[in-house]
Structure formats: structure tokens, C-alpha cells
């Protein structure tokens, strides 16, 4: 998913179909524009 914006450790992300999701970013270093691998609402890897 693509990170759109970050606030309080949570990111608004967009998946490949354009749907938006709230994602926990505590486990990776990522900012707006980065692609992250998300599992069960948590970003596990910055791609």
C-alpha cells in the first residue's frame, strides 16, 4: 500500500484498488509516498 499521510504513528494508506486504510506504522520507517507491506493493519516492511 502507498502511504498518503502519517499522524500519531498511524498512516492513511491506499491499496492498489484505491481503497483507503488506517495502518499502524510503529514497526517501520515510512513516510508519505512510501510503499509498505501491510498485514492485519500493521506495516511490516517498507518496500
Amino acid at each position: 500500500m502507498k502511504v498518503l499521510r502519517v499522524r500519531d504513528g498511524l498512516a492513511l494508506c491506499e491499496d492498489e484498488s484505491g481503497k483507503h486504510h488506517t495502518v499502524e506504522l510503529a514497526l517501520v520507517d515510512a513516510g508519505a509516498g512510501d510503499q509498505v507491506l501491510v498485514h492485519a493493519g500493521v506495516a511490516l516492511v517498507t518496500l
Binding site: 499502524e24 510503529a26 507491506l37 498485514h39 492485519a40 493493519g41 500493521v42 511490516l44 516492511v45 518496500l47
Partner: protein, 371 residues
């Protein structure tokens, strides 16, 4: 390759299939286990096995998180869901797993407040919105999902939520692999290592497989070319007499894993002395429970659960399927009494289950000639 369609390129697939064919010794039968249910799903969705020589057999491992949950654990979940005032939350697949008294979906139909969530954070949101109700999250999954539960519990603790708890049924991947390798039932030549679990734990935990058991492991991605390349890498190791952990999924999996995820898991969870796996029985130090610091969020301490071991239905052969001893279509009830619409066994419930993968992609039987 960079884009997803390139990882599904049929011509490149044929090239890899040719390399695999060139890597095998005629007359030798190779058994390669894909550990992860996501790989099983991809293999049958894309017909990866149709590109393999007949003497390369894929064996489906115990890496589907729903499939390994025993019936007694489902009964425990239903008992908690039926407590007055409880909102019981779980992943969608888990709602359809049969216990001895039916499924969580049937408990919902009977009046229990059971809700499907996509992540434990959704369950936390429900708890915040319902301060007068007890909200329980049924946590299942391997090391891929456990960090999400751990972070959610950290947030719940930081917010001082008293109406949120977790029924922890998380499991770890290494102990069942060791159990399978120790099993006299199964002779395996190598492993396709789990891609997403490895993003968290890294490659190092699998080093015991080549070191102690002399089997190669290749951690792989989930696209068809990823899986084909991983098989080819395993066969090349065997041909060259090498035996090591290799990482085909380097674009996602760091060799050391995600240290932050491992730290948060170590803070929130501790290993149970033993945990029951469907089909595999009790395996030592294979399940997680909440640590002392998070005991206030442990649903099993907050509510009473039957905690009774329940034997699988006699007709169901999920255990043999999970151990790779039989193929799904060899089970007596596959595709007849047991279907994705009316599953008897867990392997037919989740799309990552081997039986569901075979059923959904038309593998009702398979006969192959050895080259």
C-alpha cells in the same frame, strides 16, 4: 522484474520450468514442502504444479493459521462469545471453523454478538465505541499477525482500556517444522520457506533445518515466478550437494527480520509450555500467551472457558493433510460431505487451506507419471 504482472509472465515461467527440468535427476522423486498456506493458494491458483516435472512433488505444510486451530479452541471462543455483554471479534475465516458445538457464525445466528474484523485495531476501535461492553479479540496467526495483536494490546494498555481483552491463540512456525522433520511419516527433500512470517522473524530461525536435518530452505515470495524460482533454487542446492537457507524474497524479507516487531512480541507475549495443533497434537513451546505485564488483557483469565480437548470428526483427515501424508483429494469427505460452503475440517475453511485450494481450483484428483 519489478511489476506484479512480470512475476506472472507465462514465458518466463516456461523458462524456469525448463531450468527445473534440467535440475532434476530422472528416477529420483523429490518432495518439497511449501510451509505457508499463501504459497499453497498461489500454487493452485496459477497452476504452478502443472509446470513441474512429475517427479517433483509439492507437499503442503502446516502454515495456514486457521487450519491449525483445534476444535476445542473454537469451543472456548464460542463459550466466551456467549457470555452476556460480550462483543466477540475475530477474522472472517475463523467464524466458519467448526468446533464440536458448531461455528462462531452459528453462535452469532443464535444471538451471540460476534463481529468480523480485518485487524485487531478494528477490535480496539469497537472497544472504544462500546465502553459498557466487554470486547474480546480472538487472536490467531503466526509471527506475521502476532505483532499486530501486540501493538494493539500496547495501545489498549496505554489508553487504560478496561473493556478490551484478547484470547491469544497465536502460534510460532519453527516448532511444527521441527515436529514434521522428526516425524517418521514424512520424507522431505527441502522447504519453500514462508515469505511473510520471514519478514518478521527473518531467515535465521530456519538455519536449524540445513544444520540439523540436512535439508535446503528457500524463502519465497507468493507470485508464480517466485515459487518456481524457489523450487529451482532448492533443486540446484540438492544437485550441487549444498544445503543452506537462501532468500529468494529479498525484495521484501530482510535476513534478520523486523527487530522492532520481535521486540514488541517479546514484551507482550511469552511461550506457552505446550499448545495443541490440529492434526499435529501438542507441540512444546509452539503457542503464545500474554506475558505477565499484559495479563489484565488475557480473556482466558477474565472469562471461564471449557478448555476441553475435542477429537476431530472421524471422517475428517485434516491431520494427515496438514502433515502432508495425504493429498486433499485422498480424504474420504473431500468435495462431498466437506466443501468450502459446508466445511467439516479447517483445511476446507480458509482460502489458504490445502483442501480449499484444491477444491476451488479444480484439483479433485491428480495422477502424474514419473519422468
Amino acid at each position: 522484474v519489478k511489476f506484479v504482472d512480470e512475476f506472472r509472465d507465462a514465458e518466463l515461467g516456461q523458462v524456469l520450468a525448463g531450468e527445473i527440468l534440467a535440475s532434476v535427476e530422472p528416477g529420483r522423486h523429490y518432495k518439497v514442502m511449501e510451509v505457508c498456506g499463501g504459497h499453497t493458494h498461489s500454487i493452485y491458483k496459477y497452476g504452478v504444479d502443472d509446470l513441474l516435472p512429475a517427479n517433483v512433488e509439492l507437499v503442503h505444510g502446516p502454515g495456514c493459521p486457521v487450519c491449525v486451530i483445534p476444535m476445542g479452541r473454537v469451543d472456548d471462543g464460542i463459550a466466551v462469545a456467549e457470555e452476556p455483554g460480550v462483543i466477540f471479534t475475530c477474522f472472517g475465516d475463523m467464524m466458519r471453523v467448526p468446533g464440536s458445538r458448531g461455528t462462531l457464525l452459528e453462535a452469532k445466528a443464535d444471538g451471540a454478538d460476534v463481529r468480523m474484523v480485518y485487524s485487531p485495531l478494528d477490535a480496539l476501535r469497537i472497544a472504544r465505541s462500546n465502553p459498557d461492553r466487554q470486547v474480546v479479540f480472538f487472536a490467531i496467526g503466526f509471527e506475521t499477525t502476532a505483532p499486530s495483536t501486540a501493538l494493539t494490546l500496547k495501545r489498549a494498555k496505554a489508553e487504560g482500556l478496561t473493556n478490551f481483552s484478547c484470547m491469544c491463540s497465536h502460534v510460532t512456525i519453527v516448532p511444527p517444522l521441527r515436529a514434521l522433520l522428526d516425524s517418521p511419516d514424512l520424507r522431505l527433500d527441502g522447504f519453500i520457506g514462508p515469505g511473510h512470517v520471514s519478514t518478521v522473524v527473518g531467515a535465521r530461525p530456519f538455519e536449524f533445518i540445513p544444520a540439523a536435518y540436512g535439508k535446503p530452505v528457500v524463502i519465497a515470495g507468493f507470485e508464480p515466478l517466485d515459487i518456481l524460482q524457489a523450487i529451482q533454487m532448492i533443486l540446484v542446492q540438492l544437485r550441487e550437494g549444498r544445503c543452506e537457507v537462501e532468500n529468494q524474497y529479498k525484495r521484501v524479507v530482510p535476513y534478520e527480520g523486523n527487530q522492532r516487531a520481535l521486540e514488541v512480541m517479546a514484551e507482550v507475549f511469552e511461550l506457552r509450555p505446550h499448545f495443541e495443533w490440529r492434526g499435529l497434537g501438542f507441540i512444546s513451546h509452539s503457542g503464545l500467551k500474554l506475558s505477565e505485564a499484559y495479563a489484565d488483557f488475557d480473556a482466558e483469565l477474565r472469562f471461564s472457558t471449557p478448555g476441553i480437548r475435542v477429537a476431530d470428526p472421524k471422517a475428517c483427515q485434516c491431520g494427515e493433510v496438514l502433515k502432508g501424508v495425504i493429498k486433499p483429494w485422498e480424504c474420504k469427505v473431500f468435495g462431498t460431505a466437506c466443501t468450502p460452503e459446508r466445511p467439516i475440517g479447517t483445511c476446507m475453511v480458509s482460502s489458504e487451506g490445502a483442501c480449499a485450494a484444491y477444491y476451488n481450483f479444480g484439483r479433485f484428483a491428480r495422477e502424474r507419471e514419473v519422468v
